[in-house]
């Protein structure tokens, strides 16, 4: 099902060319005046005189071979432009994912296992965290940690690995904020739910030590819904990273996508959209595989969502 989604998504992205008001030429040029002769070049390159589906096939074929067209504003290969920026986005998403997994799941498990003061405060913190969108978190973090405290730089990528990590910390936290709250809450709820299960009672009635009960039954079973929600939220990071990149002036795919959308550089928009949608689908696929591994009742290919 997911590969089919990807195919249809690529079709939609391609068809955007024709959904735009005006002719495809106008869309490709973004409404800019074109020098004479360019029209023929564009028609040839994009096979505009051939049937619709054939055009789609050419575009897809090119895309699969790494050729995503030319940026009308920067006059460079879209693929080159993507390649130079993809590690920024990937690094940002990875950094945020680590924060979500370690802090979110960690907090969720601890507060799920121990009702009490820690739990109530965790509930409040995660409720607030889940409500702070990335760009709001961005300005708060910049205000507190970059301007007031000066611990982290406010903008830019930085150069060199250590500098990159410093520059990416605030953006990664901003990106992780909402997901952190959601994952922590779902983790806590799952751990609670598992703790009430009858097979946990069976384990206790046999005298299993508390730690074994928690590890072998509670956390092990809660891992299934926890993996699902973590995977889904990490997949959503792929799109939200654009907002964070803009807020922190990071040189990634997302900020470039937004620029291209503003300047109507359609080839770039299509190229980056295709890359991001593919990444999104791949992450979802990985989540499905992981869940099938964790739950022997599920066979891959069955609709278990």
């Amino acid at each position: 099902m997911l590969p089919a989604s990807l195919l249809v998504a690529s079709f939609v992205i391609f068809a955007a060319l024709y959904l735009a008001p005006g002719s495809p030429i106008a869309a490709l040029s973004g409404g800019r005046p074109l020098p004479p002769g360019s029209v023929q070049i564009l028609e040839q390159r994009y096979h505009l005189n051939e049937p619709f589906l054939a055009q789609y096939w050419y575009w897809l074929d090119n895309a699969l071979h790494g050729n995503l067209g030319i940026s009308i504003t920067l006059r460079e290969n879209v693929s080159t432009l993507i390649a130079s920026r993809i590690w920024t986005t990937a690094g940002l998403v990875l950094y945020a994912s680590v924060i979500i997994v370690v802090l979110g799941i960690g907090l969720g498990v601890v507060s799920g296992l121990r009702p009490g003061a820690l739990d109530t405060s965790a509930l409040v913190v995660t409720a607030v965290s889940a409500a702070i969108p990335a760009f709001v978190a961005a300005i708060v973090l910049i205000m507190l940690f970059a301007v007031k405290l000066g611990w982290f730089p406010a903008l830019g990528n930085g150069t060199g690995f250590a500098s990159n990590v410093r520059h990416f910390t605030l953006p990664a936290v901003a990106l992780a904020t909402v997901s952190l709250g959601i994952v922590a809450r779902v983790t806590r709820a799952s751990v609670r739910q598992e703790g009430d299960r009858e097979y946990v009672q069976t384990a206790v009635s046999r005298g299993l030590p508390a730690r074994a009960v928690i590890q072998r039954h509670i956390v092990r079973n809660a891992a299934i819904p926890i993996t699902t929600i973590t995977g889904i939220t990490i997949a959503s990071l792929i799109a939200v990273s654009a907002v964070v990149e803009v807020a922190f002036s990071l040189n990634g795919l997302g900020s470039y996508l937004v620029q291209a959308a503003q300047t109507k550089d359609l080839a770039v928009v299509q190229g980056i959209s295709l890359v991001l949608v593919t990444a999104f689908v791949v992450v979802n696929l990985l989540v499905d595989v992981l869940c099938a591994m964790l739950d022997p009742r599920v066979t891959l290919g069955s609709d278990r969502r």
Partner: protein, 290 residues
């Protein structure tokens, strides 16, 4: 039906709604009050604003709070409080439109799929699964690139992106309703399918629809504000909380965080209220189902 009973039937949804609101506890009621206040500001914001939210006066840019200007001035010398009130309009009505669109379409698709089952269900479910591949923000950016930046395009794009999620949740509930004995009884009596769906199935999954709609409002608010922040939704200089954050972001590094922060706090407050209320409504709907 006599006039008395139809009046009774109309009164019941309201009193039931209020009763279930009261049942969400103090946190739920407080959240509802916050949301109502925001809706009020959205409806009457421009009238309530003490000063003109759109008139720039660069000589006053970034000036701090003074008497009469509780929150100071923004990057272009406009009164922040007035701008917040005016901005409530698009900040609240945009998500409302998204929710109305996606919940209506989602309910229709879900009930149709659940009612007809078989091939129709398979087609609708697969179709929804395919749309699932598009994160909301991405679709909105694509729409902005194709149709030009603006709130309507973004709102429609988000509605489409949310459709699979809400339709899937409601389809499950509709399937459960469909297999209840009273539905079979009505069918046997010869009631037409549309009538059963409209007068029985949908009202019975009503609490779940309300809960999901509330939760969806929060997501739509965040996504639309983000898109406006990116400059692809509501366009500056129009007042909008997301736009305000984008406009006033430069002030933060320069030492004037208040305008951007104020807009951010407005967004977060409404989203928290919506999440709290939505969660409680959801718990209620689930408990009622058992």
């Amino acid at each position: 039906m006599s006039a008395v009973s139809t009046a009774g039937a109309a009164a019941r949804p309201w009193s039931r709604g209020l009763a279930s609101l009261r049942a969400t506890g103090p946190a739920g009621v407080a959240s509802a009050v916050v949301i109502a206040a925001a809706m009020f500001a959205a409806a009457f914001g421009p009238l309530l604003a003490p000063y003109n939210p759109d008139l720039p006066n660069l000589s006053l840019a970034w000036a701090g709070p003074t008497g009469g200007h509780l929150l100071g001035y923004d990057v272009e010398g406009r009164d922040v409080l007035s701008r917040l009130l005016a901005g409530a309009q698009t900040a609240m009505l945009g998500p409302l439109a998204v929710v109305i669109l996606s919940v209506t379409a989602g309910t229709l698709l879900a009930v149709t799929a659940a009612w007809r089952r078989g091939a129709s269900d398979a087609v609708i479910s697969s179709g929804l699964d395919i749309v699932f591949a598009f994160p909301g923000i991405l679709l909105a950016v694509l729409a902005a690139a194709v149709f030009g930046a603006g709130l309507p395009a973004a709102a429609i794009a988000l509605s489409i992106a949310y459709l699979p999620y809400i339709a899937r949740v409601l389809r499950g509930a509709a399937l459960r309703e469909r297999s209840q004995p009273y539905v079979a009884a009505l069918e046997v009596q010869g009631a037409p399918a549309a009538s059963i769906c409209l007068r029985h199935v949908i009202p019975n999954i009503g609490p779940l629809i309300a809960a999901q709609a509330t939760i969806l409002f929060g997501s739509a608010m965040i996504d639309l504000a983000a898109i406006s922040f990116l400059g692809l939704g509501v366009q500056p200089p129009a007042a909008n909380w997301g736009v305000m954050i984008s406009e006033n972001q430069v002030g933060i590094v320069q030492g004037y965080p208040l305008p951007a922060l104020a807009a951010g706090i407005c967004i977060v407050t409404v989203v928290i209220a919506v999440n709290v209320l939505g969660e409680r409504l959801f718990d209620q709907a689930r408990a009622a189902r058992r």
